[in-house]
């Protein structure tokens, strides 16, 4: 039967009421300056003509009926491609508070139509789940008796952690006496800027982070390190003294490693560490994905690829047959590249098999640590389903691994680092210290640093999340100079410094009442409590109510 075409409705027709974000526009305040329409990253806003009925109330007049007014107004697009993402840039630029997006309290019908042209929905950002177990942790073992709480403001605190393999004491002494190789270690701040690649981030963002990190190290004596992610980093950085603040990542695409290997003879110092990425919490089983529109001339040069092509990294390292083999080969090869002076550690996605990987590393004399990235981790681009539903929460995964090491008397010999959802609701220090007390030697933060240091607009209610499209309205994850020029690297650096100074103070505020100041309270699970009984049982911490 032929369908009626007079009613404009296709299966995927949506109204503004079906979209996750509804733009509220106040015509009475709008001056039609056009700033909102020009800044909208998805071109959701458009100027259009509207007709308004003007009722005639003059009852004595002979002429009946209505008059109509035609005016220019703003409307939101109902096509999925140009849907409003709720980023709110329109309200940020509006001089008259005339416009802004609001979350739709109705069902989000748009979700059911996201597979247009057979392509599953992809996005950047986060998992969009406000729940955080880490937020529920509280620090309960307050020193009240013979061990008075300390003065967080005046007492001296040792807040750093160790990245790198630590030998058992007997073995350390034996090797010292015999003059044998001692695995390299780094003393670093336990909050690490997690791996975000030079291609995923804009040059201004990356520069701002690096400037901030350098300031933290060189002026404030906070030894912060940041991880490059896959894709290398600019040659001038490789040959600069700032390299020592960087953890260079190698992932399955090996992007950027030509430049790195070529720069080794000219390096002034060693990098902080090498991270081998096997998996990522946000999209386990997926490799990195840099969309073609983010592969600018600079990125193409760094990665040694043509400009404007999609750069998907394979899900696994193509040279390997199993992780055991990979661990042996890659860790040794990369250790050898720097003459065994640089810690090399793998990063895996949170998984029920994490313990097996860990035990494999325990027996590998060159492995320097293990980073486990939980399901709440962020990413620049991934399939919706990967981000939402694939992976393992970090808390229990980390705890299991730590307790496994405790049973072997090997805790912190292979330091465990945790990531994925640290600070997702803004409680970065509380989340991080919670994980440390569950057994992590440190935590990686990604999304939090973008939000805090660069004003990333994303949140756990699916706001913005267009990092994959290269249209980041703040210029954080775009390679388009028109966009990233919005971001001032100096201001980012300033915010990075603010963040780490804040974390440092908050760490003291957590440690002081616990009576801890001499070492980072790794595994101090007696200090932790949670109001969720099954979680307390699972994590082997105290249930408090």
């Amino acid at each position: 039967m032929v369908s009626i075409r007079s009613i404009p409705s296709t299966p995927s027709s949506l109204t503004y009421n079906d979209l996750p974000w509804i733009i509220e526009h106040r015509e009475d305040r709008c001056t039609l300056c056009g700033r909102c329409t020009s800044i909208c990253p998805t071109q959701s806003l458009h100027l259009t003509y509207h007709r308004q009925r003007m009722p005639q109330l003059g009852i004595l007049k002979k002429k009946r009926g209505s008059e109509y007014r035609v005016f220019t107004g703003i409307r939101q697009s109902t096509s999925l491609e140009h849907r409003c993402t709720g980023c709110g840039m329109c309200s940020m630029v509006c001089p008259n508070e005339a416009i802004g997006p609001f979350p739709n309290s109705n069902d989000d019908r748009a979700r059911f139509h996201s597979h247009q042209k057979g392509e599953a929905w992809k996005r950047g950002g986060r998992r969009n789940d406000r729940h955080s177990l880490l937020d529920q942790l509280s620090f309960n073992r307050i020193s009240m008796l013979t061990d008075p709480a300390l003065d967080a403001g005046r007492h001296e605190f040792y807040l750093n952690t160790i990245l790198g393999r630590v030998l058992p004491p007997e073995e350390y002494i034996r090797r010292q006496a015999a003059g044998e190789w001692i695995p390299p270690t780094r003393e670093i701040f336990p909050f690490i800027i997690g791996s975000m690649s030079f291609g995923a981030l804009s040059p201004n963002m990356w520069l701002g982070l690096l400037q901030g990190v350098a300031y933290c190290n060189e002026v404030l004596n906070i030894p912060v390190v940041m991880c490059t992610g896959e894709g290398g980093c600019p040659p001038w950085v490789l040959k600069s003294p700032f390299l020592k603040y960087l953890v260079l990542q190698i992932a399955s695409g090996y992007f950027g490693w030509d430049e790195i290997i070529r720069a080794i003879p000219d390096m002034q110092c060693d990098p902080a560490a090498i991270e081998i990425k096997y998996g990522q919490g946000a999209k386990p089983g997926d490799g990195g994905l840099l969309m073609w529109f983010k592969v600018s001339q600079l990125i193409a040069r760094l990665r040694g690829v043509p400009e404007g092509v999609d750069l998907p990294s394979p899900p696994v390292h193509q040279t390997l047959y199993s992780i055991e083999e990979s661990v042996m080969k890659m860790i040794q090869t990369l250790s050898m590249a720097w003459d065994f002076r640089v810690p090399v550690y793998p990063k895996i996605s949170g998984s029920t098999s994490a313990k097996a990987v860990l035990n494999n590393l325990v027996r590998n004399p060159y492995a320097s640590g293990l980073l486990i990235d939980g399901i709440d981790g962020g990413t620049g681009a991934a399939y919706n389903v990967s981000m939402d539903a694939t992976g393992h929460a970090i808390a229990s995964n980390l705890r299991d691994c730590y307790l496994d090491l405790v049973a072997q008397g090997k805790q912190n010999e292979i330091p465990l680092f945790a990531a994925g959802g640290v600070g997702k609701n803004g409680n970065v220090t509380q989340n991080g210290m919670g994980l440390i007390m569950l057994g992590a030697s440190g935590v990686h933060i990604g999304k939090y640093i973008l939000q805090a240091a660069a004003g990333c607009l994303g949140n756990e209610k699916n706001r913005c999340n267009v990092c994959n499209l290269g249209i980041c309205p703040k210029g954080i994850t775009s390679q388009n100079p028109k966009l990233y020029r919005r971001l001032d690297p100096d201001q980012v650096a300033q915010r990075v410094v603010d963040v780490f100074m804040g974390i440092r103070t908050e760490m003291k505020k957590i440690m002081a009442p616990l009576g801890r100041s001499q070492s980072l309270p790794v595994g101090m699970s007696d200090a932790l409590g949670i109001g969720d009984e099954p979680a307390a049982r699972r994590l082997k911490i105290r249930y408090v109510c």
């Binding site: 073992r141 020193s143 008796l145 013979t146 061990d147 008075p148 300390l150 007492h155 001296e156 040792y158 750093n160 160790i162 630590v166 030998l167 058992p168 004491p169 007997e170 073995e171 350390y172 002494i173 010292q176 006496a177 001692i182 270690t185 003393e187 405790v406 049973a407 072997q408 008397g409 090997k410 805790q411 912190n412 616990l514 009576g515 801890r516 100041s517 001499q518 070492s519 309270p521 790794v522 595994g523 101090m524 699970s525 007696d526």
Partner: protein, 379 residues
């Protein structure tokens, strides 16, 4: 907070004199326990021969005592001397004290050919077996089984416990006496929670609380060494770390402070052996204590030591004269133990110091963590 008093003298003295010092410091404890460690034993009623193991503990029932006798007999020990305390039970709070035992044994003949290490391990294993046996019905408590060392622990006020056991009668004297008046903190009143703690000749006692207790306990337990058990008190780890550093790692005594309270990175960078010590700090980071604590200890060769944690919020004083030295967590404790001394020579260690009284007792030595570390001995 617990109170600590320790005296070391060339001439054996009665532990009662140390208990009197505890009395001088009595504001600081709540009568939840007294612990005494005597070293360099001398019995008025028995001619003690060096090297003979002394078993200290409490049998809470006749059956337990019987089991103890049987177990030691089965292992080939012969009882040589059984010290009879002049007990006044009315002064003791607990009612299940069948017998306080302090006995000298002759070790099995078959051990004659054994190396010293073998003998020492077997002595520890025997103590642990007795302890485990006693824990089954909580009717037998064993504190030590070691040559030249006796330990007495009891719940109650120190002087009252001393009177209850007739310690003023001078029948037991020793060259070293360590005493702790316990202030009960987080952990239940338990005889095994009383200091001093002892393992294979190494004895320590501590005041204050070690807030890094749980991770350290987990680490020591994970080493799966037979003696690293217990941990009814957060302070037991101090004895085990000292044992681990000196006996297992075979490091000099100076290393102990570098392990439990390492120097800061910037301090190590200026230290002549900074690289080694930084590596040691990393390797032993799981044993870094987080006080505030004052630690007093004694070693098998009668060397005594005194040190503070890095926060130095638990000051302690050492004073005395050649031949006899006293340490106490309060200055009045030193006064009570050795009143006639040159007080201007008293010393309160700083955060980097370890005070050592060598076995000759002619003087005490002050070590600093900033001093060069004896690397040749480390190897």
């Amino acid at each position: 907070m617990c109170r600590l008093a320790m005296k070391t003298a060339a001439e054996p003295f009665s532990p009662y004199t140390v208990l009197q010092a505890m009395e001088a410091m009595q504001e600081g404890y709540d009568g939840s326990g007294l612990g005494l460690l005597l070293r360099g034993m001398n019995f008025a009623d028995f001619n003690y021969q060096a090297g003979e193991p002394i078993l200290s503990g409490i049998a809470h029932s006749e059956a337990a005592l019987h089991r103890l006798n049987q177990m030691l007999q089965d292992r080939g020990f012969t009882l040589k001397y059984d010290h009879e305390f002049q007990v006044r039970p009315e002064l003791i709070e607990a009612k299940d004290r069948h017998k306080y035992f302090l006995r000298v044994y002759k070790q099995p003949l078959s051990w004659k050919e054994w190396s010293r290490e073998q003998v020492e391990n077997e002595l520890m294993l025997t103590r642990l077996a007795l302890r485990e046996d006693g824990l089954r019905d909580n009717d037998l408590t064993v504190f030590s089984f070691w040559p030249d060392v006796a330990i007495i622990k009891e719940v109650g006020w120190p002087l009252q416990v001393g009177d209850a056991l007739g310690l003023a009668d001078n029948r037991i004297t020793s060259r070293i006496c360590m005493a702790q008046g316990r202030q009960n903190t987080n952990y239940g009143i338990n005889l095994y929670a009383c200091h001093p703690f002892f393992i294979q000749g190494v004895g320590t006692m501590t005041n204050g609380e070690n807030t890094a207790f749980v991770p350290i306990k987990e680490y020591l337990t994970g080493l799966h060494r037979p003696g690293y058990v217990g941990y009814q008190s957060d302070s037991e780890v101090f004895a085990h770390i000292l044992h681990y550093v000196t006996r297992e790692l075979k490091l000099p005594l100076e290393a102990y402070k570098h392990v439990i309270t390492p120097l800061k990175t910037e301090e190590l960078e200026k230290h002549p052996q900074g690289r080694f010590l930084r590596g040691l700090r990393d390797a032993c980071r799981r044993m870094i204590i987080d006080g505030p604590n004052c630690v007093m200890g004694s070693m098998p060769d009668e060397t005594c030591l005194l040190l503070m944690d890095t926060k130095k919020m638990r000051p302690a004083t050492i004073g005395g004269r050649p031949g006899e030295w006293a340490m106490a967590s309060e200055m009045c404790g030193v006064d009570a133990m050795i009143p006639h001394r040159d007080k201007s020579l008293d010393f309160q260690p700083m955060r980097e110091n370890t005070v050592i009284v060598p076995a000759h007792r002619k003087e005490f030595v002050i070590w600093s963590q900033f001093d060069p570390y004896p690397l040749h001995r480390a190897a």
